[in-house]
Structure formats: C-alpha cells, structure tokens
Symmetry: C2
Subunit: 156 residues, 2 copies
DNA sequence: TCATATGTATCATTAAGAGTTACGTGATTC
DNA sequence: GAATCACGTAACTCTTAATGATACATATGA
C-alpha cells in the first residue's frame, strides 16, 4: 500500500479518546478512522504493552487512556505501533561482495541513519497534547458547537 | 515491495561507469546490479534527460557518463530517478473533514517536510565523486588487484 | 540487409500494509 | 449458568507500488 498509516491513525485516536467519556470499543474507534475493529485491536495492542492505554473485555469493556496526553510523545506512539521503517528509499537489505555497492550502501545508510535520528528526536520533543492543542485552535476558529467531530455512533 | 532501490542502484552504476572504458550496454549494467536491462533503461532515461548520461543506439552503442562524478550530487541522482517518496510513514493522502485528523495530519506533514528538506540538503552536499572515494579507500584496504569488482561480462 | 542496442508499452511478480473472516477467551448481565 | 458483549489472534484476501519479464518498434553500424 501507499504508506504506513498507523502512527497518524493512532494520534488521531488518542486525541479522540482523551475527549471520550469512559471506554471506547474497537468498533467505535474503527469508525473514527474508517477502518476495521481488528485493525484497531492490532494497533492498540502495542500501546497497551507500553502502558499508554488499557483494555477491558466483556460488557462495558473497551479501551481507555492510561495516562495524560502530555506524557505521550510522538516517539512513544511511533514505537508503540511497531516502529515501522521510516524511509521508502535506501539500499538493498542484503550485503553484496561488490566494494562499490558496499561503499554506496554505507554512505546512504549513514546519511539516512542521521536523518532518522534527527526525525526521532523531533518526535520525542512533541507531545500528543501539543497536537491536541493544534486541534483546539482549529476548533476555536471553526465556530462549531461540539468539542470535536464525532464520526461514529454515540459513546456508550 | 520493500523499498525503492533506484537511487542506491544508480549511484552504484554511475561509479562503475566512471571506471568503465567506453560505453556500457543496458545488459552489462543490468548484470552489475543484478536486474533486467529494461529496468536499467527505465532508470537511465531520467539521467539522460538531466544530461548526466548519454545513450547511443546500434552497434557499439550503450550508455556513457556525460559529466564528471564531482558535478553530480546525490540530490541530482534522487531527482533523476523520479524523486520517489522519501518516507514510508505519514498521514493519508486525502483530506478529512475531521478537525482532529486535520490537526494530526498538519503536524505530521510539517515535521516530515522539515525532515525531508534537511535530508535533501544533505543529498545536495554529497557528490557521487565522494562516494567513489569511499570506494577507493575500501579498495585500498582490501588489497585487490583490480580497480573494482566487475560482475558482468567483460566490457565491449 | 542483418545484427545490435535503445525506447516503450504491456503484463507478471513480489512485498508489505491494510482489510476481512472466523473462532477462542474472559467479563458482565440476566 | 446461559446469553451477550468485547477483546485476542490466527489465517486468510485485497490493494498498491516497485520490480521483473516479454514483445515489438526504431535507429545505427558493419
């Protein structure tokens, strides 16, 4: 597919959850981001392992934030969804016996690694709360009457 | 597929071509990078348009460097192979009416755009000649008797 | 005129994310 | 304790983009 959407989608979900009363089911979350409940559980599993969200089974179950958005960085979310490869370009994974190819791969790897480190540092410096505030500004400018646009069915 | 290999492969090819006497056919180049001659022509077309290489048809034809490696930056090569998307992560391409999603996408796009600009600046600052010198160092340390490891059949 | 090599359209293959179905397990409600 | 709800997860299919392969046209040189 085009590219990995998990980080973007999880940020979207986390901010909605922060404004969501009580628990949200996988089905409700799936409707927020226009996808399937199984896809949601797959993504959320990584966040649960890191203590960002909790899940409960059975009646009244679902997902809930386990910490304030101010304590979650974009880096945390990136790692939680499985730290997918950042770049779409780069050398082949396997090693060649050709010294030219080795030199090219090494130089490209080094350049990309440096860029990756810088980008991850940026992610570390941005909290989900900051992004939520971006949304608040947009909302204030829009003049809507609800704190966010709720796509799915009403909360439990 | 895993990721876009064109930039890496083209760098590999350009350095080989710089050490190659006369013209190299698509078939010979394809063997250098273990692929198909048509794939090579597809990649090289972009380089020809930018004046990096020239091509000749018929007997004795093939590809030839049109300028010294010192005049070609990694950025030039990146653009020549069609500037493929740099990142494997990011928001969905289409726009949503959800203000939360808009805020997330905008913040992510901004962060990635900044990272992209920095990486492209890095690419602009590195010439293919520098990478060729990386190879020369590796070669000197390896103690081989030929200036590079030629994978294909002997040159014309 | 024939062999050679590029130019290109068209289709097949491949890899990874995303989507879907099916079924198991635990928790709540009745 | 039976039914229902919701997560947990395995095992598929679908989609997309890069890559690989085939076929054929065109141009060039021997």
């Amino acid at each position: 597919m085009a590219r990995d959407l998990r980080m973007s989608r999880m940020l979207h979900v986390l901010i909605h959850m922060d404004r969501h009363v009580g628990r949200a089911t996988s089905e409700q979350i799936a409707q927020m981001i226009s996808t399937n409940a199984v896809v949601v559980r797959r993504m959320m599993a990584g966040l649960r392992e890191r203590g960002i969200v909790t899940s409960e089974k059975g009646h009244g179950g679902g997902w809930q934030l386990a910490c304030p958005l101010a304590r979650i960085s974009l880096r945390d979310v990136y790692e939680a969804v499985g730290h997918p490869p950042l770049f779409n370009i780069g050398p082949q994974a396997d090693h060649s016996s050709c010294l030219v190819e080795q030199a090219v791969d090494a130089r490209l790897d080094a350049t990309l690694s440096e860029a990756e480190a810088r980008l991850l540092a940026q992610f570390s410096a941005i909290t989900v709360e900051e992004v939520a505030q971006d949304f608040e500004r947009r909302f204030a400018e829009s003049g809507h009457s609800v704190p966010f646009q709720w796509h799915g069915s009403t909360a439990q």
